[in-house]
């Protein structure tokens, strides 16, 4: 190699005043010349030790119970391929062109038919198609939340929603659930406390069916009461319902939107019932909100991808999509059974878990004193991964919990993963017996896996 040149000390700046993008000789750098320019809302956007551990989850040696990727293997790829080809041949100039921010009209009509399965009577004009319901979450928060406004959310809550709330600097107040979902009395107490503290609560964000991450469902008899409480405190309801059609017994629950159309903004998605990669979701909102959503959507993306909307529309028109959902449900039920069976067989005393009747997730509580977040490194060594509970709270709770997904691995892999996890837990409890119960250690950055983690 050539002789490395030690920099000429004369050229070094004596006071090191500047922040430079690269490490120039004699220079100071923090590797990011823009660091002083970022908005305050980027505070939590840092590298994360926990997130880094999920990198191994993609390797086949690791049983990942961490991610939330739907099992798409059951999709009829051949006929979809043919359909895509026809779509481009017949409607290519429309499919590849800009569309309206409101969404393709035919798809909005079909979306109303989908929502009717859960008792919703919606008008296609009140539907706004979005890039997955994640975009809907972002827009709804943008519309309603100023920095410091309060969002009430279940504890735990969907991490993607918490991310949107953080991006708009809203404060999240969690309300605890039980096996029947959100507890009305807890909601009332939280709202009253916010009122006393002079906080401005903008909306309740709720996932009533087969909750992510908790796996529970809001009991039908609680629904009217939750809506009534929100009315009483003049709080809007954001109902996020990606899993509603995935009940293992095919049962559907009345959507909150169906019971209070004027005070509920409803978010739906084709990610779990068709294809997550198409990123097609929607919002059903009262007309005044809908008008603003369309304008917000224009400024965010101009319009949702026309091609993807037409793919979904054509799929709904030409395929047995209800039969496909039934297939998904059966797949997921088999996997849920595998997970619950393995938990019963392997988990040590002191653990408890939810029993989902649909959706993707089991919420596991480990014995007192175990920090599920700290334990993740041990789990990865043992070739199993999970999402530790703290990522689903904004207030530091969740250290004794973890989300286990059964959506993607096969039943055999799920059983093996739970068996490994039980071993990890035993070792951690052994450590706990040595050192006593631990307090949880704060860590920075995202604590949950990215969307492409299996």
């Amino acid at each position: 190699m050539s002789e490395p040149q030690v920099p000429d000390s004369q050229s070094a700046e004596p006071n090191l005043p500047e922040t430079k993008p690269g490490a120039e000789p004699g220079s100071r750098t923090n590797l990011d010349p823009h660091v002083e320019r970022y908005a305050a809302r980027t505070a939590g956007m840092t590298a994360s030790e926990i997130r880094a551990l999920f990198a191994v989850a993609s390797r086949p040696e690791v049983v990942s119970l961490a991610g939330g990727m739907p099992n798409l293997a059951a999709l009829p790829l051949e006929s979809l391929s043919q359909q895509m080809s026809e779509l481009i041949a017949q409607d290519g100039l429309t499919a590849l062109q800009y569309g309206s921010a409101h969404g393709v009209p035919a798809l909005r009509e079909q979306i109303c038919e989908v929502m009717a399965m859960e008792g919703i009577t919606g008008h296609p004009d009140d539907v706004v198609v979005t890039v997955g319901s994640q975009m809907a979450l972002d827009m709804v928060t943008r519309l309603f939340c100023d920095p410091g406004d309060v969002v009430i959310a279940e504890g735990p809550s969907y991490v993607g929603a918490l991310g949107s709330f953080a991006a708009y600097q809203a404060e999240v107040v969690h309300v605890a659930m039980d096996d029947d979902g959100l507890v009305p009395e807890n909601l009332r107490t939280a709202l009253a406390e916010c009122e006393r503290a002079g906080k401005r609560v903008k909306f309740l964000y709720t996932i009533p069916n087969f909750h992510n991450p908790a796996g529970v469902t809001l009991a039908a008899e609680r629904r009217a009461e939750i809506l009534e409480i929100c009315r009483q405190y003049d709080v809007l309801v954001i109902e996020d319902n990606p899993y509603g059609l995935l009940a293992f017994d095919g049962q559907t629950y009345p959507a909150l939107r169906s019971m209070d159309p004027d005070n509920v903004v409803y978010l739906g998605s084709f990610s779990k019932t068709f294809a997550s990669g198409l990123r097609v979701g929607w919002v059903l909102a009262p007309h005044a909100v809908r008008e603003k959503l369309v304008l917000a959507s224009e400024s965010a993306t101009l319009c949702p991808p026309t091609l993807n909307q037409l793919v979904v529309s054509k799929y709904l028109a030409t395929h047995d999509w209800k039969g496909q959902i039934k297939t998904f449900r059966e797949n997921y039920r088999e996997r849920r059974d595998a997970m619950i069976g393995a938990l019963e067989q392997y988990m040590p005393e002191g653990c408890s878990w939810t029993h989902p009747e649909g959706g993707f997730y089991v919420w596991l509580t480990v014995p007192e004193g175990v920090d599920a977040k700290a334990m993740l490194a041990r789990a990865v060594t043992a070739r199993v991964a999970y999402a530790s509970g703290t990522g689903f709270y904004t207030d530091g709770l969740g250290s004794r919990q973890m989300r286990l997904s059964y959506c993607y691995p096969t039943p055999e892999r799920i059983r093996e993963g739970v068996r490994r996890l039980a071993g990890v837990l035993e070792s951690e409890m052994d450590l706990m017996r040595t050192f006593g119960s631990v307090t949880t250690r704060a860590v920075s950055g995202p604590q949950t896996p990215g969307p492409d983690t299996a």
């Binding site: 190699m1 490395p4 000789p25 750098t29 923090n30 191994v56 690791v62 334990m375 490194a377 060594t381």
Partner: protein, 317 residues
């Protein structure tokens, strides 16, 4: 020079997979820019087949942690007679185990913070609190806990209060069965890259590390903007010379090859303390080796191109 085919090994199954993939990608781009034909390989069940069938002219191990740094992958390369950049398997084993590296470097006459190494079983059998008390008595507070193996500061923690120790121990033991407890030295933290050339190992300008939150943890390491780096480090001439001598001393003592990075602290009294050495240092956008190379007037692509040439010239292992 004839165009060489190089296999960059990155990924693996260690806790540092993510960092390794970033190192591997950055290195691969730099080598392609330097005109080499590069294959990026993960170390999985397909590796042996690829080594047998494709027989690259050389391999570069950009793996961090576990199999990639403890000599295992190097042993496989040696078995297949594939020349590779970096330290051979025996040297890797010495550098990988932090207590062994500390003992050997200390034995060669360099200072290193006082330390104890204990497995979980000792705490379990003798009673955790009495062992922890003795540890604090000897090392003082603050002290640093690290897994005895592994990098990227994963599992490492600065403990300032004895009451935090049990939690910190549990966090550290999540990464491995043995903990290295080290006296905390307040001072200037530096990373010194050593590159071997025709004249033997040479220390590049030291990179001084000043994390915004005071601790160079995972977040500070891999979030651009959270740590200030000074290259060369703001050291007086004596200290600058001493950190270079330490890095070369560690490289030689542990029998490292081609490239290494030594992490050290320069205490207020000028003493240079050896912390650890990396036989497969990080090459990411926020790693200190590329900064040192740039400060030395060279680049990642140029230096690794030359190291690949040296490896290929060495022939097998």
């Amino acid at each position: 020079m004839a165009e060489r085919t190089v296999a960059v090994l990155a990924g693996g199954l260690s806790h540092e997979r993510d960092v390794s993939l970033r190192s591997g990608r950055r290195l691969s781009v730099a080598l392609r820019d330097a005109g080499l034909t590069v294959q990026e390989w993960d170390t999985d069940a397909s590796l042996i087949g690829r080594l047998r069938e494709q027989r690259p002219d050389a391999a570069v191990v950009a793996l961090h942690g576990g199999e990639g740094e403890n000599g295992s992958v190097q042993t496989v390369l040696e078995m297949f007679g594939i020349p590779f950049v970096g330290t051979h398997s025996q040297g890797c084993r010495r550098a990988w185990d932090k207590p062994i590296a500390k003992a050997l470097v200390s034995g060669a006459g360099f200072a290193t913070p006082d330390w104890f190494v204990l497995p979980h079983s000792t705490f379990r059998e003798l009673g955790a609190q009495s062992v922890l008390d003795a540890m604090v008595e000897r090392l003082g507070l603050p002290l640093i806990l690290k897994p005895d193996q592994g990098g990227s500061a994963l599992g490492a923690q600065v403990v300032r209060d004895a009451a935090e120790l049990p939690t910190a121990m549990v966090g550290c033991f999540a990464y491995g069965d043995t903990v290295l407890a080290e006296r905390f030295i307040d001072g200037t933290e530096v990373a010194v890259t050593v590159v071997e050339g025709a004249d033997g190992p040479e220390a590049l300008p030291a990179v001084e590390i000043v994390p915004e939150n005071g601790v160079y943890d995972y977040t500070s390491r891999y979030t651009a903007g959270l740590t200030d780096f000074f290259t060369p480090a703001r050291l007086d001439a004596d200290a600058e010379k001493a950190v270079g001598e330490l890095a070369i001393g560690a490289h030689r003592t542990l029998g490292l090859r081609d490239i290494s990075r030594t992490d050290a602290i320069v205490a207020a009294d000028g003493t240079v303390h050896f912390l650890e050495v990396n036989s497969s240092p990080g090459l990411t956008e926020t790693s200190t080796v590329p900064m040192a190379l740039e400060a030395a007037g060279t680049s990642l692509g140029k230096v690794f191109d030359e190291l690949i040439g040296r490896a290929a010239g060495r022939g097998t292992a």
